[in-house]
Amino acid sequence: MVRVQVVVVAVVPGASEREIGWLSNGKFVTTEDFLRKTRRIAVASGKGGTGKTTVATNLAVTAVKSGLSVGYLDCDVEEPNGAVFLNPDMAMTQPVNVSVPAVDLDKCSGCGQCGRICQYNAIVPMGQQVLVFPELCHGCAGCWLVCPTGAISESRRQIGQLEVGKAGPLHVVQGLLNIGEVVSPPVIAAVKGAAPDVDLLVIDSPPGTSCPVLESVRKSDLVLLVTEPTPFGLHDLRLAVAMVRALELPFAVVINRAGTGDGETRAYCVSQRLEVLAEIPEDRQVAGAYSRGELVCDTMQQYRELYAELLRKIMPNTASMAARSA
């Protein structure tokens, strides 16, 4: 363990205000290092199948090789597949439960307030009955709070599970939504809640721009939007950019399968002044590695360099953090 021996708080001409001192081994530390702040990188996209998991898994493994402590969070809980490439040993599995209403019809006055407050049609007073559709419930507690007769109580229901484990030194957390369930954000929140205390968290988001994606990218320090240079890729990139701008999150673009499609995506990034951190070429060998469950940062030198460069852009202070983690 490297300890901070001297903390210099001084204004040095030309130095950033975040630079505050030196480690005992001579490395410079920043405020970020000093606070041991975890950097959270969410990998998202509008369109599905653009390469989020490919980028996220290769980035996580590249960061491990650079000496960082890293956690990979698979928040694509409807179909988590990062584990296919990372092969983690899952040490712990636990259920993810949500709150749902339980109705005691003997106490129900038929006032209908529960149905009016529910925004998801999960509780429906109808005639002499109160229908409950648990899979539509978002667990907001509105119905049992407004019920004037105490006919509705809070009950618990399992909607998925959380798995925590390691692939070598890489921490892996994944969520799995039960088949038939439609509300995934509670499982995603459980995955993020189980994040290890590490230098870098790579958050593999589901595709799209709806609630599960918002839950995944929330509180990220940077959102990497992975796209492909096709009309469909560009259309959904615009939606994703609008989403991260609305959330006021820092973001940058990675263009996957570069060389296919057209130049419109690149032109859009230039016109919107979006930073393109990497362009991953269309390459049959990448597809081959993917279908064998391999990571290109393990098996192909050019991609080892590509992901190392991407990591440097995302975490310029990798060397000092790695020294501290060592």
Binding site: G48, E78, E79, G115, Y120, V124, M126, L136, G208
Partner: protein
């Protein structure tokens, strides 16, 4: 008898829409004289639970029976609780469907005709939420 038909437009000559919860219009038709009111479906773009909302909407209008193409499990359950019967498999124009119903050719269904999210289309960009599951 007051019945509702899921429709693609606001007239008796419109086609019957096959989706119960996500059709654009409901035609509320009095079977005696074919007088009708066309109502826009307020839940057409509801994220989920469109069929439940539609069932509540039509129950509030005092509808006794529904003619549609398909009806999912949640809508069917809600309609049953409201005491509203449903005929599925209807097609052609609204006028034809009402005539067939009046001659007894469209009996009420005993259960849902499709699984959940039939009318919701696909989402997520990979067709992962295809209608029939």
């Amino acid at each position: 008898m007051k019945i509702a038909i899921t429709a693609t437009a606001q007239s008796l000559d419109a086609q019957v829409d096959s989706r119960f919860g996500r059709c654009p219009y409901y035609l509320i038709v009095e079977t005696e004289d074919l007088s009708f009111t066309a109502l826009a479906n307020p839940g057409v773009s509801q994220g989920s639970g469109a069929g439940i909302q539609a069932a509540q909407f039509l129950a509030d209008k005092g509808v006794q029976h529904i003619l549609t193409g398909n009806c999912g499990p949640k809508a069917h359950q809600t309609l049953a609780a409201a005491g509203i019967s449903v005929s599925v498999g209807c097609s052609g124009t609204v006028r034809e469907a009402v005539e067939q119903f009046k001659t007894g050719k469209l009996p009420a269904a005993s259960g849902p005709s499709v699984g959940g999210r039939f009318g919701a289309g696909s989402g997520g960009g990979r067709g992962r939420r295809a209608g029939r599951q």
